[in-house]
Amino acid sequence: MKLTERAGGIMKGWDEGLEEASRRAAESTVTAARSRGLVDVGYTVVDSPIGSLLVASTRVGLVRLEYLDGDPDDALEELAGTISPRLLEDPKRTEAARRQLDAYFDGRVKRFRTALDWSLTREGFSRRVLEATAAIPFGSVTTYRDVAKRAGSPRAARAAGNALHDNPIPIVVPCHRVVPSGGGVGKYGGQEWRKEFLLRLEGALHGSD
């Protein structure tokens, strides 16, 4: 038999095992990378009552929560570009945030106690709007104007709306608790039905209106 054929045949007996063995090697590589401080962003895709969520955490804390309406490729690419390409699937890194989300959807947690990383929000007004929003208690709602006021610019309701629309950490930074003063649930970056669902879950929305 020709040498090339023999060499090619060498791996045949192993090919079936390679997928599994390399997957395990990849997993322990991620663990080693984490302990050496080489994972800048760890992410997990989780299921929730309002669809798939991308949960991403840095060493500082939860940095991004994103509603996924398809595969996470675009969302991951954006994170790689905005935070760091050292982005790896890492259930351990996101564990704390995931547990609290589960508990929230089960009605067992009313206040998130996970550390947050604000890297994706500009310092200044936007950041103050989101911090004010993070302080709105479970089960209550407030208006865009009120949030603007608490962020130090009472007349900037529209700008507050924009900041909320760009909220990188929805649900945990509860922008769904901000509603128009004229009534209704108002807009939501993650689609209005999700906002309704969250407000209903929290008992802040009654009936079918």
Binding site: M11, G13, L18, V30, L76
Partner: protein
């Protein structure tokens, strides 16, 4: 420059990198070399300037790890021939004799032969992985093959 998420490199290339390492250093050492390869890559990744051939870049690193391993192991034949006893029943196509022979080649020829014939890479990719010119990749593959053939004849 926009680098893709590192996870994608891991997903897309882990099987082939692992295959190369098993062929190069044997199954026992493949896990360690694999981890070292991807940790080195991850360390350097944010500073990478050219993202046009990430696969080639990974293979360059993996090849370097294989060379390091060979250096440490000296010229011992690769321990690959023990693998079938542990992982799977002996098969005709595992060809331990050929493996032993490959393990005695000088590192450059050994790596060239593995890249070319086990992974079926074109010479351009072999050259990149080894950090040498395409001509040198051809020459090393040729020399390695010649040597293997003469070993087979002596053995026969």
């Amino acid at each position: 420059m926009n680098l893709p998420p590192f996870q994608r490199l891991l997903d897309e290339h882990r099987v082939d990198v692992y295959r190369f390492l098993v062929a190069s250093v044997g199954r026992q050492a493949a896990d360690d070399c694999f981890q070292e390869t991807f940790l080195s890559a991850l360390r350097a990744y944010p500073r990478l300037r050219d993202a046009s051939n990430l696969r080639g870049w990974l293979f360059t690193i993996a090849t370097r790890k294989a060379f390091d391993h060979w250096r440490v192991e000296g010229r011992k034949p690769v321990p690959v021939e023990r693998v079938p006893e542990r992982e799977a029943p002996e098969r005709a196509d595992d060809d331990p004799e050929l493996w032993r022979a490959v393990g005695t080649l000088p590192p450059m020829q050994r790596a060239a032969v593995i890249h070319r014939y086990v992974l079926d890479l074109p010479y351009a990719d072999v050259a990149q992985a080894l950090g040498i010119t395409e001509e040198a990749a051809r020459a090393n593959t040729y020399e390695g093959r010649k040597r293997l053939r003469s070993m087979q004849e002596v053995g026969a």
